[in-house]
């Protein structure tokens, strides 16, 4: 079974803090994704990566950056957390874009 793990299930941070969300997959997938999910808005793509050190912006990249130094790890960085970044963050990986495997999610609260 494909396994996608995220570093934390729940995280509480303060406004202005730098926040790192880590995602690791164990199936040697080329593609990795970061989404956020908010009530009434569904899943929205923040960034994705199709290879090591490669990244592309999704629909809502503002306020976020990403890092992919190794194939199995994809990090989402909030440079200066704000309250409107309180959300559920979901990481996914895939070999093809139509079949993505998701992690359990990180519920981030920014106070």
């Amino acid at each position: 079974d494909v396994k996608v793990t995220q570093s934390s299930r729940y995280l509480v941070k303060r406004t202005g803090e730098k926040v790192f969300l880590e995602c690791v997959q164990d199936m040697d997938h080329e593609n990795m994704f970061w989404y956020r999910q908010d009530p009434g808005l569904g899943l929205r793509l923040i960034y994705f990566s199709y290879d090591v050190k490669m990244k592309e912006k999704g629909d809502i990249p503002e306020g976020y950056s990403v890092s992919r130094e190794k194939k199995e790890r994809f990090s989402l960085i909030l440079e200066s957390a704000s309250t409107n970044q309180t959300s559920m963050y979901l990481c996914a990986s895939s070999t093809s874009l139509a079949t993505q495997y998701f992690g359990p999610g990180t519920r981030l609260t920014v106070l």
């Binding site: 593609n31 569904g42 793509l45 999704g58 139509a98 998701f102 999610g105």
Partner: protein
């Protein structure tokens, strides 16, 4: 990218068959249709994928008409544990495609006892 349209919510009772239809009028030749299931506080889970006609696995069936402009996810004899949000996605499955998938709001299925 093909946009999808599906009902916001559906109700059913235990033991019934549930059919959720998704409209994707602008589907491209290389696009596949994929359905995901999401329980509260969990990430979405892949349940079925198809290109045309009918696909069946241990969880669900997927019916796709010849024009491929819509698809229907069929869940046989649902139970309370099938209460979840179901997403329909359309996308190119080739590994060279670095495009994006669009997750809509999905269909919230509520199964009642």
């Amino acid at each position: 990218l093909a946009k999808t349209t599906q009902p916001i919510s559906m109700d059913s009772y235990e033991g019934q068959e549930v059919n959720i239809t998704c409209s994707h009028n602008n589907i491209a030749t290389n696009d596949y249709i994929t359905w995901y299931q999401q329980f509260p506080s969990q990430g979405p889970r892949f349940i079925i994928q198809g290109y045309k006609t009918k696909v069946t696995n241990e969880v669900a069936s997927l019916f796709i008409p010849a024009d491929r402009k819509s698809s229907t996810l069929s869940l046989p004899r649902v139970s309370l544990s099938d209460t979840a949000v179901y997403y329909c996605l359309v996308g190119d499955r080739s590994s060279s495609n670095t495009g994006k998938l669009i997750f809509g709001q999905g269909t919230t299925l509520q199964v009642k006892p």
